[in-house]
Amino acid sequence: MKPQAPDNLLLVSSSPHTHSGSSVSRIMADVLIALIPAFAAACWFFGWNAVRLTAVCVAACLITEWLCRKAMRRANTIADFSAAVTGVLLAFNLPPDLPSWMAIAGSVVAIAIAKQTFGGLGYNPFNPALIGRAFLLISCTGAMTTWSASNWLSPDAITTATPLSLVKETLKTGDPLPFTMTGPMTWNFFIGNMNGCIGEVSAAAILIGAAYLLIRRVITWHVPVAFIGTVIIYGLIHMTCSANAMPVHFHLLSGGLMLGAFFMATDMVTTPITHIGLIIFGIGCGLLTMIIRTVINGDYPDGVSFAILVMNAFTPLINRACKRLPFGRKK
């Protein structure tokens, strides 16, 4: 006769037997909520294309994630929303006219290669969305740097470049700066009325989302402050050294700086873990961004995504260097 186990087995686990209730999916959901204002701004400025790209990227990311987990015979992780966050962030880093198939290709690379190859969320050394973008930028350079005309300059000066690339191209040919940051121009830049990737144009919308993340304590101030602070300091020094320098607020409001500083460089998985490490990370991002932006010979007008990726590579080294001493221990 076989022994019978009692009907109602008690659950036994290690302490603690209570939990704060936080979860990965809650964190990712907060990031998605924080991206809503930027999405609204994208829809306002780019219309149907913003919806199309975001939908395509999110769908492609989710499907890729599902397929990868299936192929690896592991538990499904769509429910933690991390793939959705990657999809939205990737979409926000794409120009409005990018063909859908390219967006899909970028999403597949982001999830399949940059994330699931390493075993999924938590193991990836690089930010998947940024890998997707860098992949597209290098493989489909033309499409990734084509911008539909918008009215961010005066209507008679319609241009098909982002402010950053316009500045860089002009300086490369030796011409003076193409425009000055007047009051209305700054306002346009701030609300997002300019050419650029769909989610990065509106600093105002991103700041609203960032405030939500800070209040919800999903992100800490360290990376954004160090990142943006470094950009400001570098920008000020650059202005005093060079006659052909754009003002600091141009650098703050153009390109992917705001989106990068608040949403990409704060990705927990790929950034250092200690506060000091995060500050070093932010400073590194700021420096590299400005080097790529201001060295005229460079191939790329904006350096935010590459700067963050390079600093992602440095993250293990920063973690190694920034260990802290426990309570009661001395050097």
Binding site: P125, G298, L309
Partner: protein, 191 residues
């Protein structure tokens, strides 16, 4: 300023490993541990600097005057091979711990295309002896830079949980590819 640009160019922009894809074998081989990566970095910087000097002397004092430039590759390989063997013997005698740590990879520098590559590049650029050595050392520092970053990353991915098919070198190669992708952002900064 020219020298600074030369160094930045060799380290960041035209990095031997991440941009020119030279020296991949030791890059993958010794990056598993930070300690060996640092040891290897030292060895490569030393060997590349010295090899540049030796090959420059052979090129400018022997091959060029005798119009034997077509022997360049053969002569360089011969010299570098002998030189690395010498370093190996000296290190085994005087730095046995480092020698043990580097293991097979020190002799592998012999056939490392990065060493030959830098020597050939110096000839192509018609650099002076000083510039040749500086460029070689900078290139080696770039190699070391990439190697150490990669060692840090590998310690992280060592703890990752890739699917069975990607375990080991496969995931290391994927990571190296992504690292290279990240460094593409520097392209064009320095010619």
């Amino acid at each position: 300023m020219e020298y600074v640009l030369l160094i930045i160019g060799a380290v960041l922009v035209n990095n031997f490993v991440l941009n020119r894809f030279l020296g991949i074998c030791p890059f993958l081989g010794v990056s598993k541990q930070m300690s060996t990566a640092i040891g290897m970095s030292g060895a490569v910087i030393f060997v590349m600097g010295m090899a540049a000097a030796v090959t420059w002397c052979i090129q400018d004092w022997l091959l060029a005057p005798l119009n034997l430039e077509y022997l360049q590759t053969t002569a360089f390989i011969l010299l570098i091979a002998a030189f690395v063997q010498l370093v190996d013997i000296v290190m085994k005698r005087f730095l046995p711990a480092l020698h043990g740590a580097l293991g097979i990879f020190l002799p592998l520098i012999t056939t490392n295309c990065a060493v030959l590559g830098v020597a050939v590049m110096n000839v192509q650029n018609e650099s002076s002896l000083g510039i040749s050595v500086l460029f070689s050392v900078a290139a080696a520092v770039g190699f070391a830079f990439a190697l150490i970053i990669f060692a840090g990353l590998r310690e992280k991915i060592e703890r990752a949980n890739p699917p069975r098919a990607f375990r080991g070198v496969a995931i290391a190669l994927v990571t190296a590819g992504l690292l290279s992708l990240s460094f593409m952002g520097f392209s064009g900064l320095v010619k």
